[in-house]
């Protein structure tokens, strides 16, 4: 008899097989099968969460994959509060993205194929989060990678899409390398890859601190690849070449959070190694700021959201890096709702605007797309960290955790986090204002704009409800909410290093709320002055009514430097350094490959010559001591 967990995992696999193999005959009905499978998994996921809340956990080995000597690897599943939260997050977003895709992909020739990939992805993701050992987790890890690759390049006729797929693939290889070596090293030291045993053995002192640091950093390298952290984040913005539901599901809500999950799951290692934790937190904050500053100036709606995702993932890493694991996972949870929502809403906008992505051609859409517009605004308020919407609760928990942590420079960490929050709020409201307010900038596109079909708007509404409430319901009161009681037993409560010293909690909350509102006000002011959307290196519209002197000063002293800095960061880091490294790596390897091919001349004497070289070297190598 199958257990609930097994059914949850097998459902999407079944859906994938049906729509993949029989999609040719099933045509559109394959979408129903796929969606029904995920829907059932969603309901069972909710039931599982309720069970776990009632104290019923699962840690079962379903099948001994291999057992040879001291080495055992099983296909086994672990359901504890952490994986239950992940399970609900993944299945919820997946289900609504499936529903949404009905409308979005309706006219696409690859309808069945799309659903097959999507289901396969859900299956792999569930394996990833429900596995009870690192080996099986790696199976899911690679599975989501392959699905992501397939889905980014879904419209493979477009060269940019297949290039983006390739890039994602190459960059993720670097991460996978870290992950694999991490597993090997862990196995070498502990002789096991089972979570429970790793916790027991590492917690019992079987792991020297240096080894813990090494393994933790290697795993973090893997996490950087999957979760798009500096310097491995470059693939994510390009991944927007995929269909929008894919961006919402994989590249915002689920797969990219796998890295955060891994770090949280391996919390015992990061607790053993404060160094590794600090590295995680600082990489997180750096990424958060870098990506946010790029988002400040980008005009491609999906790319802004992509950089925003990278930035928010950075926040999650700050959380798990400083030891506030609950905060990190909580933000993952809330972020899935509002970022998923915003991507789907962006898809709805694109749908209405003939797939135009440039925000400079939008404007005034609110009157035409009420549902999309208002839900998008809800998502924006949520991500800006304005109470009482979801983002506020989780982001504040992270910032408070950072402020109180032991990590070197924790106050700076907090301050930078707040700066990032201002930027977040600014670029998101900028997006909203440019898209839904003001005058339409492209009359032709505007005339054809229309609200999307219900299959697309209903998921928006549902996710909007989530974006409003999940944070407050689970996170109130701050630091003592349900989520803390639920997750802290597994992940450990963050230790408040500086205790009550420094700013009081209410001041911290006040500052972070002010940051969110500040960004909004800034965006609004600039919108009013017409500077949003215009390429600000162009002369500014002179005729605008509030041509205040203050505005000019402000422009020179703040906006332009920030703009320049953002552009510089974007050019230097994104397009030159990181992109260059990623592409360069590809070209270098290919180049070496080509050069090494030249040795293969096809002439037998040349081959014999190399053999003689080898022989002489071999005699030397063996006979010399």
């Amino acid at each position: 008899m199958l257990t609930t967990v097994e059914i949850i995992i097998l459902l999407p696999l079944f859906g994938a097989i049906v729509s993949g193999v029989f999609g040719h005959w099933l045509k559109k009905s394959s979408g129903y099968v796929a969606t029904a499978c995920v829907g059932a998994a969603w309901l069972l996921g909710l039931k599982t969460l309720v069970d776990v809340m009632g104290g019923v956990g699962v840690d079962e080995n379903v099948y001994t994959w291999v057992s040879a000597g001291s080495f055992t690897a099983s296909v086994g599943f672990l359901v504890d509060p952490l994986s239950a939260i992940m399970l609900v997050t993944v299945t919820t977003v997946s289900f609504f993205v499936h529903v949404y895709s009905f409308g979005y992909m309706h006219h696409d020739a690859g309808f069945a194929r799309f659903f097959a990939y999507l289901n396969l992805f859900v299956f792999s993701m569930l394996v990833l989060i429900l596995a009870n050992n690192y080996l099986l987790m790696f199976v899911g890890w690679e599975g989501v990678g392959v699905c992501s690759y397939l889905l980014i390049g879904f419209w493979y006729e477009r060269k940019s899409a297949s290039d983006a797929g390739k890039k994602a693939f190459i960059v993720n290889r670097i991460g996978d390398f870290g992950f694999l070596i991490g597993i090997f090293t862990m196995f070498g030291y502990l002789g096991t890859v089972q979570f429970s045993e790793v916790v027991a053995k590492a917690g019992g002192g079987a792991l020297p601190a240096s080894a813990a640091t090494g393994i933790a950093l290697l795993l973090f390298l893997g996490a950087c690849g999957k979760s798009a952290q500096f310097p491995l984040y470059v693939w994510l913005p390009d991944a927007m070449e995929g269909p929008t539901p894919v961006s919402a599901l994989i590249h915002a809500a689920t797969m990219v959070t796998a890295g955060v999950y891994v770090v949280a799951r391996s919390n015992v290692l990061y607790t053993l190694s404060p160094t590794a934790g600090a590295v995680v937190a600082w990489v997180g904050v750096f990424t958060a700021l870098l990506a946010a500053s790029i988002a400040l100036v980008n005009t491609d709606i999906k790319r802004v959201l992509a950089y925003s995702t990278v930035s928010q993932l950075g926040y999650m890493f700050i959380g798990v890096g400083v030891g506030a694991y609950t905060a990190g996972i909580f933000h993952l949870f809330t972020h899935a709702f509002f970022k998923g929502l915003m991507f789907l809403a962006a898809g709805s906008v694109m749908h209405a605007m003939s797939n135009e992505l440039d925000m400079r051609k939008y404007g005034g859409l609110l009157s035409k797309m009420k549902v999309t517009g208002y839900t998008f605004i809800i998502g924006t308020i949520a991500i800006a960290g304005i109470p009482p919407l979801s983002g506020f609760w989780s982001k504040d928990l992270i910032l408070a955790g950072a402020y109180h942590s032991h990590v070197p420079g924790h106050a700076a960490l907090w301050a930078l986090g707040v700066v990032g929050a201002v930027m977040t709020s600014f670029y998101m409201f900028r997006l909203i204002l440019m898209t839904f307010f003001g005058q339409p900038r492209d009359a032709h596109l505007y005339d054809h704009a229309h609200e999307s079909p219900p299959s697309m708007t209903v998921p928006l509404l549902v996710l909007a409800v989530g974006a409003i409430f999940v944070g407050g319901v689970t996170g109130y009161p701050l630091e003592h909410g349900w989520i803390n009681h639920f997750l802290d037993p597994v992940l450990g409560s963050p230790d408040h290093g500086s205790g009550g010293a420094g700013l009081s909690p209410s001041v911290l909350i006040g500052i972070s709320v002010a940051a969110g509102l500040g960004g909004f006000v800034l965006a609004l002011v600039m919108h009013r002055s017409g500077r949003l959307g215009a390429d600000s290196r162009q002369p500014i519209h002179k005729v605008l009514w509030n041509k205040w002197y203050v505005d000019e000063a402000y422009d020179v002293s703040i906006v332009r430097p920030i703009h320049r800095l953002s552009m510089a960061l974007w050019t230097i880091f994104d397009t030159i350094v990181v992109d260059g490294i990623a592409n360069g790596l590809g070209y270098t390897v290919k180049g070496i490959s080509w050069v090494s091919g030249r040795f293969q001349t096809g002439r037998t004497p040349t081959y014999a010559m190399w053999m003689l070289f080898g022989t002489i070297a071999m005699i030397y190598a063996v006979t010399l001591p």
Partner: protein
């Protein structure tokens, strides 16, 4: 006179008898075009597998004047070799008819090569190993050039022969030096001589070891002794290429491991550094070479070089898990690689073998079964979980970490990651490229279908339920350590 322990001889005797039976059938029925001989060969291979399995688990012995071993190690390799042979015969039936008209000598030569391989795995004396290598090689030289009117087939054959004979020279010189310094060519006596310090001159022994390594490295196509492999793999008839990459490689490793670990294990301090370099180079050059290939046979040739590198890592580690992992990996490799070649054969047609990877565009949709099977083989070769290839690599690399070879593991993992690119390239071509030109029908004989199915199921089974086979692989190790 000495007593003959027939059990020791039995597996090779079955195959040798089969060679003679097939020869007689060919003489009696020269016009059967290989049909009857094919069926007979399959039957015989089945018997040989059954014999090998029934001898499994006995306490290790040796006999025939100390020339042959009978132990689990040899039997396990018998299984790999015979599985490879059986699958190749299945694949060959339709292939031969299509390409050049079946000729029954084909099966006879395959069986002779198989016999040679089995002797390499079971040989207890360098002379038997040498004769096994030569029997296998001579049969393969002929098989590579079997399509004698094709220039590429000829060319591959000639290159293989010249370089193979060249390498034989080094191998023989190595055997001579080992013989001169220990006074024997018997593997167990060499082990004793080394252990008891009865070595005539130590540098000479080491020189001999170096040249032995060269000889074996050529047969397993380790860098820089690999250069024949891409050309020969490309030139050979496709079914034979698959055959060559599985059995002969496994057999060469069988002899290599046995000689290095069992007989010369005490000298591992001297040779493991050299093998380390060999392994690192082989993995790297193999994968880099494969990266820029457009011809699928050539790509798989470089891939087979790279895979030899992974197995060499097991030899460097030379511990229980490593050797078991290496042996296990060779089994998995036999299935997935012959499977891949079965697909290549299936997708070719008379006069146009369709070997460019770009020619695979759209195959995944037009022939879902074949596409799925090929995806499985490629994913497995790339070592993605949860396939056979992943599991073998996991064993080998964790053994290397256990033995303290962290850097070699790092190189190996990096390589394995690079390799995903070109293996998935085939999958991408099958599923994500529009086919150019008219689709053509794929005709597979029932036998070829069976081969493809067996290889797929074998690959799946080894990946999903490796326990029993891995246990068997571990039981072989006691013969060496």
């Amino acid at each position: 006179m000495f007593e003959i322990d027939w059990n020791i001889l039995l597996p090779s005797l079955v195959v040798a008898g089969l060679v003679l039976v097939v020869l007689c059938v060919d003489i009696i029925r020269p016009d059967n075009k290989g049909g009857v001989s094919g069926y007979l060969s399959l039957l015989g291979v089945g018997v040989a597998i059954w014999v090998s399995l029934s001898l499994w688990g006995r306490s290790p012995t040796h006999g025939l004047g100390g020339m042959l071993f009978l132990d689990n190690y040899a039997l396990f390799f018998n299984l790999i070799i015979l599985a490879g042979t059986g699958l190749t015969i299945f694949v060959s039936t339709g292939f031969l008819e299509r390409e050049e008209g079946g000729r029954s000598e084909y099966y006879l030569l395959i069986l002779a090569a198989t016999l040679g391989m089995m002797l390499m795995a079971a040989g207890a004396d360098l002379i038997v190993i040498f004769l096994g290598i030569e029997l296998m090689s001579i049969a393969l030289y002929i098989l590579v050039g079997f399509f004698r009117r094709r220039t590429d087939s000829n060319e591959g054959s000639m290159k293989y022969l010249l370089l193979g004979a060249f390498a034989t020279g080094f191998l023989l010189y190595g055997i001579a030096l080992v013989y001169g310094s220990t006074g024997t060519t018997n593997l167990r006596e060499i082990e004793l001589a080394v252990a008891q310090g009865r070595v005539y001159t130590h540098p000479m022994l080491l020189g001999g070891v170096a040249l032995l390594i060269v000889g074996f490295a050529f047969k397993v196509s380790a860098v820089p002794f690999h250069m024949w492999a891409p050309d020969v793999y490309q030139g050979a008839p496709t079914a034979i290429t698959g055959f060559m990459s599985a059995g002969p490689k496994a057999a060469a490793f069988a002899a290599f491991f046995r000689v290095m670990v069992a007989s010369l294990g005490d000298l591992s301090g001297d040779w493991s550094g050299a093998i380390w370099m060999l392994a690192a180079l082989t993995m790297t050059v193999g994968n880099l070479g494969a990266l820029s290939q457009r011809n699928i046979k050539r790509m798989l040739a470089y891939s087979s070089v790279a895979h030899a590198g992974y197995v060499l890592v097991a030899l460097v580690a030379a511990n229980e898990r490593g050797i078991a992992g290496g042996v296990f990996y060779l089994l998995a490799y036999a299935f997935m690689n012959i499977g891949a070649f079965a697909v290549i054969v299936a997708l070719g047609r008379k006069g146009d073998e369709n070997l460019e990877i770009s020619g695979y565009a759209g195959v995944g949709f037009r022939h879902p079964g074949i596409g799925l099977a090929m995806t499985l083989f490629m994913v497995s070769l790339a070592g993605l979980p949860p396939t056979a290839g992943f599991f073998g690599k996991f064993q080998i690399f964790s053994a290397a970490v256990e033995a303290g070879y962290i850097w070699l593991t790092v190189i190996g993992v990096l390589n394995s990651l690079v390799s995903v690119y070109f293996y998935l390239g085939v999958v991408v071509s099958m599923y994500m490229r529009q086919p150019v030109g008219q689709a053509h029908a794929v005709s597979m004989t029932p036998f070829a279908r069976v081969a493809l199915l067996t290889a797929s199921l074998g690959t799946l089974y080894i990946g999903l339920a490796p326990t029993s086979l891995l246990q068997m692989a571990r039981q072989t190790v006691s013969a060496l350590l």
